[in-house]
Symmetry: C2
Subunit: 213 residues, 2 copies
DNA sequence: GTCTATAGATTGATAGAC
DNA sequence: GTCTATCAATCTATAGAC
């Protein structure tokens, strides 16, 4: 349910999207000018306006291009976990539910530079309460997050949905801050943490916190 | 140790700093122009350059004005916890150590609108790996964070410092995402969560995660 | 210290030739 | 579709009157 499809882009459009994504992550969306994008992508200055209409629609294209496949993968994992639990006639456990969200996210963030860049953009969007693209982002995230709270609520009926809601926020915050682009000023040792170990660490960290009385 | 002092500002300078802080949080640092700041602060357009030199130094002033007292408070709490443990001749427990960092932060974030705004700015800085003010921010945070890892390491000798480091990142991420300005698109119920309950929730969530084998 | 005026650079967007 | 040229708006910063 809720699987969305991607628009189809030409080669030039993809070159612009790729370049914009990288520059948005490095310098922030608003500090990145159309001239920076078009010169780095080696296309004409007028190309962005010709292919996307304006700068805002280019930003939307960057969001959709990454978030639609990522959320489809998250949804697929959650569906699988819930389906397997249904077969066994018992609720999925906390770790499985959180893993269905954390695992695809970390795998995505570690896939390549472009994906890392996108996660930086997403994190920035989540932090800023007044961001102009927040509404689009929310509309893409809400269905999945609501399903997660609902699934957790079935597994942990003694914990109120609002508390689960709060702890899911903690979980997402922990996950976002675990990513390479976001390092607090400690040693950078962990940056090369084995990806499977990282997924296990976050999932365990969040699960024990989630199940607290 | 490591207590820093604040510079002394005139009324006009404070008016500019207050206004800038709010606009930085609402629209981002780079999207906020000197005209937006000076017109909202009801001072002349030239006032920022006269009082602070340039835009960058104004941003630094906003950072220092908030981060110095906040970190002094965090340091004081950590010193107290470590001192009490020393008297009892046993290491401080995980919850106390994390509480010394989380409690002053959440109290600060809930103090007033200006403080909430500042936390949004800090979160944005932490997210962006290439931010030009990241170095200043890191230099202010590193001493305290190193002490936290050291204290946790004494309490949890079976867990490697790099793992504690990683879990401290999870903790900070969870804390940042718990704040009012940063809401994932779920119900907004939690936004008015009782402040003491919130501090307890985050501290417990992080402590159980931190102590995992 | 405050203000106006303006310099000098950069921005997003578009018109029109090819 | 691509390109050059350019517009109108906006930006930071400063000079100089008061």
């Amino acid at each position: 349910m809720n699987y969305l499809e991607l628009p189809c882009y030409t080669k030039t459009q993809l070159k612009i999207i790729d370049t914009a994504e990288h520059l948005f992550a490095c310098h922030g969306i608003h500090s990145t000018t159309l001239r920076m994008i078009t010169s780095a992508a080696k296309v004409n200055l007028a190309a962005v306006n010709y292919h996307f209409g304006n700068k805002e629609k280019l930003i939307q294209a960057v969001l959709l291009r990454n978030l639609i496949p990522l959320n489809n993968e998250r949804q697929q994992q959650l569906d699988r976990v819930l389906h397997e639990a249904e077969i066994k006639c018992q609720p999925a456990n906390t770790k499985q539910i959180l893993h269905s969200f954390i695992m695809p996210t970390i795998l995505f963030a570690r896939r390549n530079v472009a994906c890392k860049d996108f996660m930086t953009i997403v994190a920035t969007l989540m932090i800023n309460p007044n961001n102009e693209f927040r509404q689009l982002f929310n509309s893409l995230m809400t269905p999945l997050l609501n399903q997660l709270v609902q699934a957790l609520s079935a597994t942990l009926p003694n914990i109120s949905p609002s508390t689960l809601n709060l702890r899911l926020q903690f979980t997402i915050g922990a996950m976002i801050f675990s990513m390479r682009e976001i390092d607090i000023p400690l040693t950078d040792q962990h940056l090369d943490t084995d990806i499977n170990l990282l997924i296990t660490e976050i999932t365990s960290f969040a699960s024990t916190g989630m199940e607290q009385p």
